[in-house]
């Protein structure tokens, strides 16, 4: 019996193992495994779109004894996005690391990270989530340190330790849930969850631990140095996917597991943190002197938007309002995933050409790499939320919900955040217009530049305009 869910986890893991055994063929095996993993993940997404949620009980043991995998619309949407981004990153990396010593190390770790991501989005067992979180944290930290510089190692060490603290906190929450409800299965626990001290404590521990991993303000301090010092393809994966995984889990637990006890004031607290993240992250991005630091702070801000949805979801008047907020959340997250990955990949190209990423001195580099600059522009526009990106429609719904529920104070936050984003993106793009000679070709290195450009085009044109199918996938 073919199990598409298990396959989506197995492919990248198989890739990691085969590259570990045959490091000489890393790049070839890498592309092969990347294509396989992407196809299997898209297969899951299409199957879900076709026939609704998929569940599989691994080892043939009934849940809760066995571990369950589950792909519902939410998971499938992210699975598809993550694998597309990961495929783009892989293609880019095959050029980026082509003559670098780090290539033998990059590929197996990268596929281990990919395994963790796929496993995380499919998991429905709370302890299994802990294992995937650790797999993700370890591989991400190891990948981030691949640039080998002192700052990258110390930033990623900090990331590793904080991540460990976060997942241990999460695990204590899981333990409390097992104590009180006798199961580790998300769905089963959610069904029997009752308000009370143990569920409240578990909620606080798990959401708190995950917020640390998701870099939710004020727990974001580890993110900018870690993401800014990693090699560009790794930064792309970290910022676009890894952080997204943690905030996804926050939402998942909030809506699925703790729906019964997550009250409006707790949601408001998370929302306020999110709003502060939007302003603070955008402001820091505007002030950043280095391109990658700018991109990293922009991630902090975007995570803030995602947290800002929680109080509005809590205050939504009816099921329809909730549903459209959920779609908006997914649109925002997917667009950010694609756009931020593209942004970092393009940044990497600029950095390779100039040898640095100081914004003030970029000058001619942007001009000489039209395709990369174009990707930066498109991705930047998607990050700002210019139409027709998914971010734009998400913000539309967000503002609508804020006005409708009377929480009008989010509106100036969103407006200000958008304008700040505009400032930091165009501070950069303005450098592309110089009087340097015209570059002879639009594209110089097809694989490296087009992967970034395609991701940006998807972010700008794909997600927003595909809102309908995405909503269908979510079952809304």
């Amino acid at each position: 019996m073919l199990d598409p869910l298990a396959l989506a986890v197995a492919w990248p893991l198989l890739g990691a193992l085969s590259i570990t055994l045959l490091p000489r063929w890393a790049a070839h095996l890498g592309i092969l495994a990347a294509v396989g993993a992407t196809l299997s993940a898209l297969g899951v997404a299409f199957a879900v779109m076709d026939s609704g949620s998929l569940t599989s009980e691994l080892g043939g043991w009934k849940i809760p004894l066995g571990i369950g995998l589950r792909a519902d619309g939410l998971a499938a949407a992210f699975l598809a996005m993550v694998n597309l981004v990961a495929l783009g990153v892989s293609i880019h990396a095959s050029v980026y690391f082509a003559d670098s010593k780090a290539r033998h190390h990059f590929w197996p770790l990268w596929f281990l990270l990919w395994t963790a991501l796929n496993a995380l989005w499919l998991a429905r067992d709370l302890f299994n989530l802990y294992v995937t979180l650790e797999l993700m944290g370890l591989s991400a930290a190891a990948l981030g340190a691949l640039s080998g510089t002192r700052e990258s190692i110390s930033a990623n060490l900090r990331y590793l330790l904080l991540g460990l603290a976060g997942s241990m906190t999460y695990l204590l929450g899981v333990a409390l849930l097992y104590v009180a409800y006798g199961s580790l299965d998300l769905v089963q626990v959610a069904r029997s969850l009752a308000p009370g001290p143990s569920s409240a404590a578990a909620c606080a521990l798990m959401i708190g631990g995950l917020s640390l991993k998701a870099a939710l303000f004020p727990l974001h301090f580890w993110l900018p140095p870690a993401h800014a010092s990693a090699p560009a393809p790794v930064s792309a994966a970290l910022s676009a996917l890894v952080v997204k995984a943690a905030i996804y889990l926050v939402l998942r637990l909030w809506l699925d597991l703790f729906a019964g006890i997550a009250n409006a004031s707790a949601a408001m607290l998370l929302g306020l943190l999110g709003g502060s993240a939007v302003l603070w992250g955008s402001w820091q991005a505007l002030r950043a002197e280095r391109l990658k630091l700018l991109a990293a702070y922009s991630t902090v801000a975007q995570i803030g938007y995602l947290a800002m949805f929680l109080p509005l979801i809590a205050a939504a008047a009816d099921e329809r309002g909730r549903a459209s907020l959920l779609v908006a959340w997914v649109l925002l997250a997917l667009t950010h995933g694609l756009a931020k990955a593209s942004f970092f990949l393009a940044t990497g190209l600029v950095q390779k050409t100039t040898g640095h990423d100081r914004i003030a001195e970029l000058g001619g580099a942007a001009q000489s790499l039209p395709a990369a600059t174009f990707a930066l522009g498109l991705a930047g526009a998607a990050l700002i939320g210019l139409p027709p990106s998914g971010t734009f429609f998400a913000k539309w719904i967000l503002i609508q919900a804020a006005i409708a529920s009377g929480q009008w104070w989010w509106v100036p936050v969103i407006m200000l955040g958008t304008l700040l984003a505009l400032g930091y993106v165009f501070r950069l793009l303005a450098r592309a217009f110089t009087r340097e000679p015209t570059p002879p070709h639009f594209v110089t290195s097809a694989r490296a530049e087009l992967s970034a450009l395609l991701l940006a085009v998807l972010a700008m044109l794909g997600v927003g305009l595909a809102a309908r199918p995405i909503a269908n996938l979510l079952g809304v």
Partner: protein
């Protein structure tokens, strides 16, 4: 049965060539030109088809539902056809001009790519069937014009582009907020003849007033309503075809068109009048008309003088919208076309002086009529039209605005028109006098000879001549079927109903 493809095809007919042009190597000169012209002519054919169809009562509707309440709609009503036709015709002319103007200059693939996107966005604005779609294309327009303004890469261009962006994007955010607020109150905001709001409960009226100001502020930035006009003179650093496009077709017009949509098809002109909003709009328009003209008087730079003239002239459209009654409406709407034709002529001419003789200042223009007679002739037609001298198109506008104002009892507007026309004469006539009657200097600042018998490059000469003839024609044949005026009468008749 509605045709779902034509509106989309009209938008894509320039967007796709534009996207392809980005990928062209710089030296693929012919291919790029071919793509440009193919897109422009193909679009013109499609628009012709659409005019024929709309005239015969066909319905064109492309739509994409994203989520309940979030729908992208492209449709064709008489008003959108007016604007689409204007932008498509002028795009073709401007493309020819730009090809001549930018010959041998760097980064042409980038330029023409964004140029095409810019027109696609304008056409999208024209065809938008609801406010959401309008905003989508409105922001895309901002995004696509920024690189055109910044194109030259000089510090001034950088500065001008930043200011342009800061103004328009802030306006965009305000517009978005107003739109979402309104949609929260009354649901999807489809543009509807006669407006949407008159049936809404009275308790919402105070909010409607606030929302009107938000929307007006958002649109007023692009329409360069005082005090939101600050970007327009700064954006003059752009190459001449871009200025032509910005002032006559795309950006400023998009703002003015948005105000027209806001007043007629969202609020409804009578409802807006009832809330007292038209008076406010009229006050802003009047202030802008006077301010722009006064500022234009003191500018020595030709392009800046034209820029302030735009600030002033575009507000005639808002003025027409702010006076209740079909006649004023006709005057305002027809100026959408007339101002476009005349202003683009003027900018083409300014570009010719700069490219051929290196002339940028009004004070350098002595005797240019002898060196560039045809260009100066076109300039003369455009300038006289702006002043309102019959039979050029500008006269028709002012005539109808004046009649409409008298009809509605808004006599202040007649005074305003007289004052503004005097000011127009005061800043245009000296230019004409210099050009025709002062003796030319011994040498021009930076003369450039083209290998042709004509006074300048043919690609630079024909466009202003064509648009000058069109401005004359729009005035002379104002009563002919399918003239802008007749078409606008049709729109006004529908808005005010039987």
């Amino acid at each position: 049965m509605a045709d779902p493809y034509l509106p989309l095809a009209i938008v894509l007919s320039s967007a796709l060539p534009g996207a392809l042009i980005f990928f062209l190597d710089e030296e693929f000169h012919r291919l790029r030109t071919a793509l440009n012209l193919f897109g422009a002519i193909f679009k013109l054919i499609l628009v012709g088809w659409m005019i024929w169809g709309v005239f015969h009562g066909h319905v064109y509707l492309s739509h994409l539902e994203l989520l309940p309440g979030l729908e992208l709609i492209l449709s064709a009503d008489a008003l959108s056809v007016l604007f689409v036709t204007l932008s498509t015709v002028l795009w073709l002319v401007t493309t020819i001009y730009a090809i001549g103007y930018l010959e041998h200059s760097p980064n042409r693939s980038r330029f023409f790519g964004f140029f095409s996107l810019c027109v696609s966005a304008t056409v999208g604005i024209a065809l938008s069937g609801n406010l959401l779609t309008f905003i989508v294309f409105y922001e895309i327009l901002t995004l696509a014009t920024y690189p055109l303004v910044a194109h030259r890469g000089t510090p001034e261009a950088d500065r001008g582009a930043r200011i342009y962006l800061a103004y328009t994007m802030t306006g965009g955010v305000v517009l978005l907020t107003g739109a979402v607020w309104l949609q929260t109150l009354i649901g999807p905001l489809n543009f509807t003849q006669g407006g949407l709001l008159s049936t809404a409960p009275e308790s919402l009226h105070p909010q409607f007033i606030w929302i009107f100001f938000l929307l007006l502020a958002g649109l007023g930035v692009k329409a360069a309503l005082v005090p939101l006009h600050g970007w327009l003179p700064q954006a003059m650093v752009a190459p001449a075809p871009v200025s032509a496009l910005l002032h006559a077709v795309a950006v400023v017009k998009a703002g003015a068109f948005g105000i027209v949509r806001l007043v007629y098809d969202l609020y409804g002109v009578e409802f807006a009048y009832g809330l007292g909003l038209l008076d406010v709009l009229g006050a802003f328009a009047a202030a802008t008309i006077l301010y722009g003209s006064l500022k234009a008087l003191s500018q020595d730079s030709l392009k800046k003088r034209l820029a302030y003239s735009t600030v002033s002239q575009v507000s005639y459209i808002a003025l027409g919208a702010s006076i209740l009654g079909p006649i004023a409406t006709i005057g305002g709407l027809v100026h959408l076309v007339h101002q476009g034709l005349m202003k683009i002529t003027l900018f083409f001419c300014a570009g010719n002086y700069a490219e051929t003789l290196g002339i940028h200042q009004v004070s350098e223009m002595n005797g240019v009529g002898r060196r560039l007679p045809w260009t100066t002739l076109a300039l003369t037609v455009g300038a006289l039209g702006m002043i309102g001298v019959p039979p050029v198109a500008g006269f028709v506008t002012k005539w109808y605005l004046g009649l409409g104002a008298a009809d509605a009892g808004a006599y202040w507007a007649i005074l305003l028109l007289i004052a503004s026309s005097l000011l127009n004469a005061a800043y245009f006539l000296p230019i004409l006098y210099r050009a025709w009657f002062r003796p030319p200097p011994p040498s021009w600042p930076e003369e450039h000879r083209f290998p042709t018998r004509l006074e300048t490059d043919p690609a630079l000469l024909w466009p202003p001549l064509i648009t000058a003839v069109l401005s004359l024609g729009a005035g002379l044949f104002a009563a002919a079927p399918f003239s802008p005026l007749e078409w606008v009468r049709l729109i006004a008749a529908r808005e005010y109903g039987p």
